[in-house]
Structure formats: C-alpha cells, structure tokens
C-alpha cells in the first residue's frame, strides 16, 4: 500500500531536475527525514496517519522543494542541458530521415501495385523540351518521352528517399551510442521537460502527414492521380510516425498523472 510519504516522494521525483545520482540522493534524504519526523510524531502521541500528514506538511510541497533545489543549482544552460537538447534533435532528425527512407519503400510498393505513373508521373499537360526528352530517353529508353520521365522521377523518389533512410539509421546509431556511453550528460533526469521529444515529434509529423495527405488526395480528387503516390506514401508514413509519438506522449502523461498500467500493491 502506498502511504502519504511514498506519494510525496513520487511527486518530488516528478518535480526534480538534475543528475540521476543527485535526484536519488535527494529522494533518499527526503524519505529518511519524513520517516524520522513521522516516528517522532507517533512518539509524541499522534496517530500514525496524523504524524505522517504533519511530517509531509512541515517538509513543504514537492514543487516548492524542487524549485529551491533548481534555484540553488548551477546555471541552466549547462553543457549537459545543451547535450540533452542536441541528443533530442538528433533523435527527431534520425526518426525523420528513417521515415523518409520507409516512405521510399512504400512508394516503391505503390509503384508495383498501381504503376509508376501514380507515384512519379508528370501532369498530362506537361510539355518536354527536345533536350529534356533526349536526356530522359538516354538513361531510361522507352517508347515515349513521358514514360522515360516517369521512370526517371520514380528512381529519384525511391532511391533518394532510401538514401535519406540510411543516413537516418546512422544518426540513430550515433544517438544510441551517445546515450549508451553517457556522452552529453545522458545520465541527467528531467533537464528537458517530460515528453519533450514525443510532443515535438507528434506535432511535426502530424502536420507533415496532414499536409502531404491533403496534397496527394487533393491532387487525385481535383486534378490527376499522376504523381500523387509520392505524397500519399510520405503522408501515410508520417501519419504512422505521428501516431507512434502520440502513443509515447500518452504513456509519459499517464506516468506523470499516476495512471501507470503497472499493478499496484
């Protein structure tokens, strides 16, 4: 069963910022203090519940205590803070590039299923200059200039995106290594706000999904399906990544508000 002291320590943990070992020390000292104070209250004749309540009250609210620790701490823009911000950006950028790579795979699949024109075909009213046409036909021989242009664009859509995905994997590898080795102060607790990465990720990828899907679907409905697949493929992947970030954000918020899915004893 969770008593008032455990509940207080949970609140304090959520409010505290700083290096993991400092936060752990603060929590241990706070618990010892509160249990000493409660024991003394019981010895003075209070009930256990009342002694605990008074001990917690005299200690000060978790937010106040955490604020005092923050006020006494070294400057906020420390190397560790900047390191964590950089790591968060590398994570977001890496996920973004990998998403681009995956959308290249999805575009390739759409090309197989619906034809390359759906992914990379130019609008029917596009006119190719003789020089441009000759260029396409040199690298993509075919019966028409339009088909050669479509094949050229298709390879660009698919392979450039796959290349971006490979760069994303490298970025995520660097991020993983930096965290594992503890570079840039990754042992810090709460230097960035809770849910910072999922919030930014959900917003950025959600907006990207909305824009890309609106462009792709709008093009199909209003004009032509030629080339719509490049937007739809990217939009669908963005939507999936946004949903993944939203799920992470919900978990963070649930943990913060005590809605953990872990069984309580």
């Amino acid at each position: 069963m969770t008593d008032a002291i455990d509940a207080y320590l949970d609140d304090l943990l959520v409010e505290l910022h700083g290096r993991a070992r400092d936060v752990r020390r603060i929590l241990v000292e706070a618990e010892q203090h509160l249990r000493d104070a409660a024991d003394e209250g019981v010895r003075a004749g209070l009930t256990a519940d009342e002694a605990t309540r008074q001990a917690v009250e005299r200690f000060g609210s978790a937010r106040l205590v955490a604020r005092r620790f923050a006020a006494e701490a070294p400057p906020v823009l420390s190397r560790r803070f900047l390191g964590q911000a950089a790591l968060a950006l590398v994570l977001l950028g890496g996920v973004g590039l990998v998403a681009v790579g995956v959308s290249g795979g999805v575009a390739a699949g759409m090309g197989s299923a619906f034809g390359k024109t759906f992914v990379s075909g130019d609008s029917p009213d596009v006119v190719y200059t003789p020089a441009r046409c000759a260029y396409f036909l040199e690298y993509y021989p075919g019966p028409t200039c339009e088909q050669a242009a479509t094949a050229h664009h298709f390879d660009e859509v698919v392979f450039y995106r796959l290349a971006a995905g490979a760069a994303g994997l490298l970025a995520l590898g660097g991020w993983w290594l930096a965290r594992r080795r503890g570079w840039f102060g990754s042992e810090e607790v709460g230097l960035l706000p809770d849910g910072f990465v999922p919030t930014i990720g959900a917003a950025v990828f959600g907006l990207a999904a909305a824009g890309l899907l609106a462009q792709g679907v709008g093009q199909i409905v209003v004009d032509t399906s030629n080339g719509a697949g490049q937007y739809v493929s990217a939009g669908l992947v963005s939507l999936a990544v946004a949903a993944w970030f939203v799920r992470s954000l919900v978990h963070v918020l649930a943990a913060r508000t005590g809605g953990s899915t872990l069984a309580t004893s």
Binding site: A30, Q32, H33, V65
Partner: protein
C-alpha cells in the same frame, strides 16, 4: 535572507556532525523543512560543508559536518551579525 539561513545552517553544524533531519530540528523552524536540503547541498558544493553516508542508530544516513572553510565562514557571518547588533544599539542610544 539567504546569508541568514546559511549562517543558521552552518551554526547548526558547529562542533558536531548531523543528518538533515537533526539540522532542521536545530534550526528554529520558520522555513519548510525540505528547503534546508537545497541549502545543505549548495554549501557542500561551495566547500563549506562535507557529507558522507554513515550508519547511525542502525540506519544509513547522510551526515553533514563543517569543513575548515565552513567554520571560517561561520565565524565571519557571526562577526557580521554581531556588528549589525552593535550598530542597531548605537543608533538607538544615540537618539
């Protein structure tokens, strides 16, 4: 205000090491007890106090004690406080 609390915390540690709860008991209330710990941690970072985990009455506790620099700082703060008291009385008697 901050110097005053620093002086009180240093005075609470004068001569005898103590854990955080004991320090707050030696202080004459007036501040939420949990706010004494940020002061103790800062004084430790500043080299005026040192601390270590020790077994006390069968419990593992973080014991704080003054360093040499802390004792000097306490003397200086006490002298400054005494000088302020003298000034106050001198002003009062001179009216």
């Amino acid at each position: 205000m901050r110097a005053n609390l620093d002086a009180r915390v240093l005075a609470a540690l004068a001569g005898v090491p103590a854990h955080g709860y004991r320090v707050t008991m030696r202080l004459d209330a007036g501040v939420p007890e949990g706010t004494v710990y940020p002061v103790l941690h800062r004084l430790e970072r500043d080299g005026l106090v040192r601390s270590a985990w020790r077994d006390v009455d069968g419990r593992r506790r973080r014991l704080y004690e003054l360093t040499g620099a802390g004792a000097t700082a306490l003397d200086r703060l006490a002298a400054a406080a005494q000088a302020r008291v003298h000034d106050t009385y001198r002003l009062r008697w001179s009216v």
